[in-house]
Symmetry: D2
Subunit: 340 residues, 4 copies
C-alpha cells in the first residue's frame, strides 16, 4: 500500500532490459518503490522514465546512489563485471542489495564480498537466482524434503532454449547453466564434489556455427548424487526446463507447464513456451516480494553471497573440465557459521 | 506505486472471509488502496484491521461509505440479498463498483441495476466472475477465437469440489454452477437458448444427506452448441475444474494444473488441488488489477451488469428445469446497444 | 498348434473386408482353422483365397455350410439383415456361432434367436462386441469392480471418427453408437432405463451434408447412473474413443493410446490414431481367441444373444428419442435365468 | 494354420521359465510348432509337457536334437555359457537358430560364431533382443528415421526394475543394460565409440546390500551422440523403461504405457507396471512370429550374430570402465559385407 512510511526506497543500478523490468516490478509490488536509478546511458534512461511516467532521481554515479539518503536498498542489474564494486559499496553503506547473477565475475571477487559482509556482521546481500522462487521448483523441493521418493541418488536436468543469438565461448556454462548450478544445490541441499563436461555431436541448426551446442555437465555431490545437466541453447523447439530426481523409492520431476490441451490433425498437442519470460515471470515477482519483505523485516531469506561464491567455483570447475576433458574437483572451504 | 495521487480510493462493503481477502488484495495491487470499510459487525472489523495493521475508516452505514469523499470506487462483498441496494447507490453516486456474484438475487433486481446504469449513461458496474481472468481459461478462449478447432459444437465441463458443508437446496446451481453460467457464455461468445437439469444417482458420501449431488446442467446456445456441466460438490477427491470444447476440426480443453510428477508405489502421480484458492487465487489478482486499471482509466472491461442479468436468468431457468424435469427456454430481451 | 485333432473347424459366412480379416485371424490364432466359406459373390472369394494361399471349401449356400460336417463353428460376417437366418440355422444345427453386430436388425429378430437358443438348452451364440476385449476397457472395468472410485454416478463417453463417408440417416446410432450401447452396460453391469437424444449444432465439414453430426445420446441406468455419449463421425482430427466414469470417490477414464512423445515446433505432441483398426486390432484377436477357447471347452464367455437383444432395444429407443425429442423408456423383460 | 506342411518344426534347448514360455509361444503362433526339447533336467520337462498337454520328443542331448530330422530350426534358451556350443552346432547343421542373449559369454565366442556363420555362407543366427519388436520402440525409431527431430545429438534412457533378488557383481551391466546396449545401436543406427561408467550414491533399499545400484553407463557413438543410461534394478516403484532422444529440432521419447487414468485422494494417477512381462510380452510374440516367418521364407531380418558380437564388446568395455573409472574405447573391426 502506498502511503505507508515504512515503504522501502529502492535504487536501481543498470537500466537495461532486465533493469527496466525490475523498476516496474518494485513499483507494482507491495512495500517498496523505486526512488533512484543509475545507468551508463542516463539520457536514454530519462526518456524511458518520462515515457513510463515513473518518478525517480537519476544519479550520475552508482556509488552516490548507493550512499544517498533517498535509497534504503539497492538492485544491481548492470553489466556483470561491475557487480562486485556496487555490492561492496552497498555493504559498506550497510544497505540491502539484490544483485543479479553473477555475484562477481571471479571467485576472488565473490570472496571479497563474503569477507566484507562477514566483517560488517549482517547479511545484506541476496543473489538473483530466481528459480528458487518458481512454484514448480518449490513444489519439487517440498516433495524431496518430505522424503516421498526417499534419499536422492541421481538428477537429470535440461536447460533448453530455442536460440541464443550472440552466444559464444563458454556462455552456455557461465550464463545459462549457472541457473542449474544454483538451483540444484538448493534442491538437494548439499555441495558439489566433482565436475565433468561432455561435448556431444554439435547441432548444425544455429546462428552461431562456432558455438559448441549442446553441452552435458556432469556433477557429483559430496554424498554421491549423480547429476547430469543438458544445456542446449539452440534447441529450436522451445524454452524447456526439466528436472527429474531419482530417489531410493521413486522419481519426482518438474511438470510441463499447463497449457491448453488440443486434439487436431491426428495429434494431441500442448504448447511449449518459446520465451523464458513465460516460464519464469511469476518467479521474479515472488523473488522481489520476498526480498522486499525480508529487507523491511531486517532478515533476508534468499540466496546468499556464499551461494553466489559456490556457484562461481562450480562454474569455474565446469569451464576447466570442458577443456581438460577430465573430472575436476570442486573444492570449497568450510561454510562459515555466518551463513547458516 | 504508493505516492501517486491518482491512486484509487476503494471502499469495501462486507468484511467476511472474501471481503478480507479483497482488502488485502487491493492494498498490494498497484494503483489503489482501501480507505473505508463497512460491515454489519463493525466491532469485529475494527479488531481485524488493527491486527492486520491496516488503516481504513470504518463506516456505520454502507450508503454513507459509498457517498463519502474518501471513496472513489466500491467493492461489494456483503451478503447476496444486500448487493442490489449497494450497487444502485454506487450508480447514483456515479462511482465504479465491483460486485461479487450475484449481482442481485432476482432477475428484477438485475433489471433495476441495468436500467439505473443505462440512465446514468456510463458503465460503472463490474460483476465478480473471476474465471474470465484465469490464465488457462484465457488461453482456451484464445484457441477458440483463433478457430484452431473450427466452430464449436459441444462443450463438456466439470465443477467438482471435494465437499461443500452446509450446501442445501439449489445451491449447487445458484452458488457453484453460477461460475460456469458466466464463463461458458464468455468462452463461446453467445447466449443460451434452453436449459435442462438431470439428477443422477446421488452420492452416499456427503455430510448433507438431503442434498441432491451431483447435478447435470444441459444448456443449448442460440447457434445450437450443446453444453453439459457436471456439478459435483461432494466429489471427495479434489477441486477439479474441467472444460472441453469439441469443434468442427478438433477438441480444446483446460489442462490439469502443473504439479510435480511423481513415480512411486507402482503409480505415476500428480497432486490434484483440494482448495479452490490454489486453483483460482491468481485469477482474483488479475481481476482486481484490471478493474483498478479500468476504473482509473475511466473504462471498465470486465463482466457487466448485463452479464450479471443473463446469468441470473440462466440460473432461474436451471432451477425451474430441475423441478419440471423438462427443457426450459432461456428468454432474454435484445442486448442494449449500451452494453456492446 | 496345427496337428491337434481338437482344432475347431470354422466356417465363415460373408467374405467382405471384415470377413477376410476374420478368416486370417482364425487361421493364425490357436486351436482353430477356417475350413469353409460362403459369400454372395463366391467368384471373388475364390480368387482371394488363391491369392492368399488359403485352403477352404467354398459353399454355394450359407445354410449348407452351417450343416456341413466340415464345420464345427460358424462366424457370421455377412450383411446385417441376413444375420438372423444364419444364427437360427446354427442354433438348429447345435453349433457355436460368432455373429458380428447386429445380432438381428429388429428387436423381434433378436427375440426369435433368444427363444431358439433357450429351446435348444445350450448357449451357442456370441455377439461380436469386441470392445469388451480391449485391454484398456478391461482395465477400466477392473478399477470399477474393485470400487476404487466407489459407486459410479455418471459416465461420459466419446465416439469420434475422422470421417464416415456414406453414413446417412441414423447410422451414427445404429452402426457407431451400438458399440457404446453394449460396452457401457457391461462396464456398469446394469441395464438402461431411459434414452434421450440431443442434436447439437451440425458440423459443416463433412462429405455427407445431409447427415446430422454430432449426436448426443443420454441414457440413464436403472440405478440412476447418468450417461452421455457423444458420437461424432466426421470429427476430422482422428479416431478417438474416450470414456470417463465419475464415482462417489473419484473418476476413472480410458487413457489415450501410448504413442511417441514428441517436442518440436513449440509443441508437445502425441499421435492420435486415424484408423479404428490401430485402436482395436488387438481386441479382435483376444475376442476370437476367447471364442475359440470357449467353443473348444464347451462354454462360451462372451456377449450373449441376450446382450444383443438388450442393445437392439436400446438402439430402437435412441432412434425413437431422436425423432420425438423427448425421454423414452427402455423396457426390457426380466433377464431369463438361462443367461445368468 | 495347422495342417500346412510348410510348418516350421522347432526344437527348444533349455526348458526353464523363459524356455517354457517360448514353447507355448511357438505353438500358438502361426507357421511353427515345437517338435523336440532338451534340458539338463529332462524329468522335470517330461512332467511339465504332460501337464501342459504338449506333444514333443524329449532329447537326451542338445546336439542330437539339433541334428535330428524332427527339427527344422532351434531356439536356444539354456544357461548363457552353453549358448556358443549350441549355436555353432546349429550353424554346422545348416539350421536357423534363435539364441537368447547373450550370443556367447565372451567376445571370442561371438567371433567364432560369426566366423562359422560366414564360412557357411548363410545367415542362420538371430539373437533374442526383443525390444526391437516392441511397438513403442518401433514407433520411436520411425520418428527418428523420418527426421522429425532432425539428427540425434543425445539420448537419455532408464532401465528401472523394482527389484532384482540375487543380482551381484556386474549383472546390472551384463544382464540388464545388455538390452539397451543392443536397442540403442539399432535406434541410432550406428556403433559406439567410448564407454564410461559412473557409480552414484548407492540405494539402501535392497535385498542385495553388496550390490552397487544404480549404475550410469555413458556411451558416445562414432558420430558423437552422447548416451546416458541409468540402470536401477532395485528402484522399488516399478518396471519403468524410458528413452528420450534429443535431436537438432526436437525431442522424441517413449511414452508411458497406457493405463487407466484415475482421480482419487487428491491425486491424478496411472498404474506403473511392476512386472517386465506386462511391458514386453507382446514384443516376444512379434519377435518369434517374425523369426518364424523369416525362417520359412529363408531370410532372417532380426538381430544378427554381428549385433550379438557388438553388444558383447560394448558390455566388456562397460565392465572395464566400471573398474577403471575412466573412458574406455569401444573398438570394433569393420563390419563384414556379409552382415549388410
Amino acid at each position: 500500500m502506498s502511503l505507508n512510511i515504512t515503504d522501502l526506497k529502492v535504487g536501481v543500478i543498470g537500466v537495461g532490459a532486465i533493469g527496466k523490468e525490475h523498476i516496474k516490478r518494485v513499483n507494482y509490488l507491495t512495500g517498496a518503490h523505486v526512488t533512484a536509478v543509475f545507468d551508463v546511458n542516463n539520457d536514454q534512461v530519462r526518456s524511458w522514465l518520462t515515457q513510463e511516467n515513473i518518478e525517480a532521481e537519476v544519479f550520475d554515479n552508482g556509488v552516490d546512489l548507493i550512499n544517498s539518503d533517498m535509497v534504503d536498498a539497492i538492485v544491481v542489474a548492470s553489466w556483470g563485471p561491475t557487480h562486485e564494486e556496487f555490492v561492496l559499496a552497498a555493504i559498506e553503506a550497510g544497505k540491502y542489495v539484490m544483485c543479479e547473477k553473477p555475484l562477481a565475475v571471479t571467485e576472488e571477487g565473490c570472496r571479497r564480498i563474503i569477507d566484507a559482509e562477514m566483517a560488517c556482521g549482517k547479511r545484506l546481500v541476496q543473489v538473483g537466482f530466481m528459480r528458487r522462487y518458481d512454484k514448480s521448483y518449490r513444489q519439487l523441493k517440498s516433495v524431496l524434503d518430505q522424503k516421498i521418493i526417499g534419499e536422492p541418488l541421481t538428477l537429470n536436468a535440461w536447460h533448453h532454449a530455442p536460440e541464443a543469438p550472440g552466444f559464444s565461448g563458454d556462455m552456455a556454462i557461465t550464463d545459462s547453466f549457472v541457473h542449474e548450478a544454483d538451483v540444484l544445490r538448493w534442491l538437494l541441499d548439499e555441495d558439489y564434489a566433482t565436475a565433468q563436461v561432455i561435448l556431444p555431436r554439435k547441432t548444425q541448426i544455429s546462428s552461431e556455427p562456432e558455438l559448441q551446442d549442446p553441452h552435458i555437465m556432469i556433477l557429483s555431490t559430496k554424498s554421491g548424487v549423480h547429476i547430469s545437466v543438458q544445456s542446449f541453447v539452440f534447441c529450436q523447439y522451445g524454452y524447456d526446463i526439466q528436472c527429474q530426481i531419482t530417489g531410493e523409492k521413486g522419481v519426482a520431476a518438474l511438470p510441463d507447464p499447463a497449457t491448453t490441451v488440443i486434439r487436431t490433425n491426428a495429434s494431441l498437442q500442448q504448447e511449449i513456451f518459446v520465451d523464458w519470460k513465460d516460464r519464469f515471470f511469476d518467479a521474479f515477482d515472488v523473488e522481489f516480494q520476498e526480498w522486499i519483505d525480508g529487507a523491511r523485516a531486517g532478515q533476508l531469506t534468499g540466496p546468499t553471497s556464499w551461494d553466489g561464491y559456490c556457484v562461481s567455483v562450480t562454474i569455474d570447475a565446469c569451464v576447466k573440465a570442458k577443456y581438460s576433458g577430465g573430472i575436476e574437483k570442486i573444492e570449497l572451504p568450510e561454510k562459515p557459521e555466518f551463513y547458516n
